[in-house]
């Protein structure tokens, strides 16, 4: 019973700039164990950048990241902030699963090979162990019959489910979804949706960036509306959607989506 006294993830004053553009502007966020957080907002509002900052695919200019209570990602040297050692960064990423909008499956490996790759190469499991983990994960996303084909033969929805299985095979403590259904044909969204839902039901902590309001409504414990690098509003789905009545920006955005 180690329900930690601290949140799983704690972001303080996260700031990311691209040249003159401030993509994320001093954001604070706490995500507790098992929480399902959905971030919505218009394109270019900094949602993806924030998500990518969490597993250090983006290097932030200011702020701190705490994962399971320990500060991660950056160290102070000579009173200057530097990225942590590559090994430490990789170790953090191994604990955080990420699913991309465009899947990024490894095209030269079979479906099984894709899912095995993390356990095999990063966790240094034996081939047999990695295969059994990967097989379990493919069963979970409902694609065990596709284990021996190459990604090129899969539909978009199947690719995304394989990508989820690949992330899950690392037994992550936190899952990041970066617009997981935005590149899919509408009729394929459902299957990916369902897979994420299953995960949520199992108690996985997750942060989902999406344009899909249905998602937010059904799944989220908390929804954050982000714009221009700031959190404009947050709360339970009901709270946010009712807050939208008073806020032109949010209402405008939601009306366009719904």
């Amino acid at each position: 019973m180690n329900i930690a006294s601290h949140p799983l993830l704690k972001l303080e004053n996260i700031t990311k700039r691209f040249k003159s553009l401030t993509a994320v502007n001093g954001v604070n966020l706490e995500v507790s164990h098992g929480e399902k957080l959905v971030i919505i907002g218009p394109s270019g509002s900094g949602k993806s950048t924030l998500l990518r900052s969490i597993n250090l695919l983006e290097e932030i200019e200011e702020g701190t990241i705490h994962f399971e209570g320990r500060e991660v990602g950056y160290v102070m040297r000579n009173a200057k902030r530097h990225p942590d050692r590559p090994q430490a960064i990789s170790a953090l990423r191994a604990e955080i699963g990420m699913v991309f909008q465009h899947f990024h499956l490894f095209p030269h490996m079979t479906v099984l090979g894709n899912v095995m790759e993390g356990p095999l190469t990063v966790l240094r499991k034996s081939a047999d162990e990695a295969r059994s983990i990967a097989t379990d994960m493919l069963v979970k996303v409902g694609l065990s019959d596709k284990r021996d084909v190459f990604p090129a033969t899969l539909s978009g929805g199947q690719k995304q489910r394989v990508a989820i299985a690949r992330a899950l095979a690392m037994r992550p403590k936190l899952m990041l979804f970066d617009e997981p259904t935005s590149a899919l044909d509408p009729e394929l969204v459902g299957e990916v949706f369902d897979t994420i839902h299953t995960l949520a039901d199992e108690g996985m902590t997750m942060i989902i960036v999406t344009h899909h309001m249905g998602f937010a409504r059904e799944l989220a414990d908390r929804v954050i509306f982000m714009e221009s690098g700031n959190f404009l509003a947050q709360g339970t789905p009901e709270e946010l959607f009712s807050a939208a009545q008073d806020n032109d920006r949010i209402r405008g955005f939601l009306n366009r989506l719904l």
Partner: protein, 336 residues
């Protein structure tokens, strides 16, 4: 000089046949004389044209003028190395006078003259093949050694160029800049003839492999760098996101995806390499080109060069075929 002499000889021949064989051909005396004059002036074509005016005789007619005109034409043609035409003239005579011994003998001699041509080529091939084959084996050794060394060198150079460490990328940039920017011939000379003055003496083979290896590493380095950078950046991110280090991501994810893209340009380079080994003949290596050159100089015979060309073509064809197969296999995951 030679030409005039042969013309004079033909003219003499002509006079001799004229006196010997035109007793009954009174009608054509004038014509024979004219053609003889033309020959004396060196106008062989004119003489030939005149001689051909003598018609084939009717059944009961005297044959002497016709036969001697055709035989004379045959000699002129033979003197011009027109053996095939000369044979045709002989056969024209033999068609009407199958027993004409003069035409028969001449024909036999002409056919003999033709035959040795093929015999010579064949015997040349047999004679040259062993030393050319030895040269080809040496060429193949050079190609294989370079093919072993340069992809590794190329990969290192490519990774170095991409590296964020300035000194590493600087050194790799320099290697590419230098070895692509100077002639391979000069590099070979420098390694084989120049290094001894620095106290480093290398055998021709070692020098050749080092020279070709460095040169091709530089070229392949740029090709591999391009291929690596053409892989979607998302692949590197996905690899990192599951916790891979940079080198794991390169080794397991990025580089394997470059293989298919690499095959066409690398195949090109290796075909060029097969031919570039010919440059090595300048640093005392006896490979295919040098072997052919030696034979050519010894016998002044282009068969040696032609044969070398055929061997080069065979080698490049084999390699082209192999690379096509590898390219197909390397990209098998893209086939739906």
């Amino acid at each position: 000089m030679k030409y005039t002499a042969s013309r004079a000889f033909v003219a003499l021949l002509f006079l001799w046949t004229l006196t010997g064989s035109c007793f009954g051909a009174v009608d054509y005396d004038q014509l024979f004389r004219q053609s003889s004059d033309l020959m004396a002036q060196g106008d062989l074509d004119g003489a030939l044209a005149l001689l051909k005016q003598v018609p084939a005789p009717a059944a009961d007619e005297e044959a002497g003028a016709f036969v001697s005109s055709r035989m004379q034409a045959g000699r002129i043609l033979a003197s011009q190395n027109e053996t095939v035409k000369a044979i045709a003239v002989c056969q024209e005579v033999l068609k009407l006078f199958p027993d004409n011994s003069e035409a028969r003998n001449f024909l036999a001699a002409l056919k003999d003259q033709l035959k040795p041509g093929w015999h010579t080529v064949l015997s040349d091939v047999v004679r040259f093949l062993p030393s050319l084959a030895r040269g080809a084996v040496m060429t193949l050794m050079l190609v294989l050694c370079t093919m072993l060394v340069s992809p590794l060198g190329g990969l290192l150079i490519a990774l170095g160029r991409i590296s964020t460490l300035r000194p590493v990328s600087g050194v790799c940039w320099f290697i590419i800049w230098f070895f692509r920017g100077t002639p391979l011939l000069l590099q070979l000379f420098f390694i084989y003839y120049g290094l001894p003055s620095l106290g480093i003496t290398l055998s021709p083979f070692t020098s050749a492999v080092i020279g070709l290896g460095l040169n091709y590493s530089a070229y392949l380095g740029e090709i591999i760098r391009g291929a690596i950078q053409s892989i979607d950046h998302g692949q590197m991110e996905a690899a990192k996101a599951i916790g891979m280090s940079y080198s794991q991501a390169m080794r397991r994810i990025i580089v394997p995806q470059t293989y298919k893209r690499l095959m066409p340009p690398v195949g090109n380079e290796f075909i060029a390499l097969i031919k570039d080994t010919a440059l090595v003949s300048t640093i005392a290596m006896v490979e295919l080109m040098r072997a052919a050159d030696q034979l050519f100089n010894a016998y002044f015979n282009i068969t040696a060069l032609a044969l070398a060309a055929v061997i080069y073509l065979v080698l490049t064809t084999i390699f082209t075929f192999i690379f096509e197969k590898i390219e197909y296999r390397a990209g098998i995951y893209e086939h739906r």
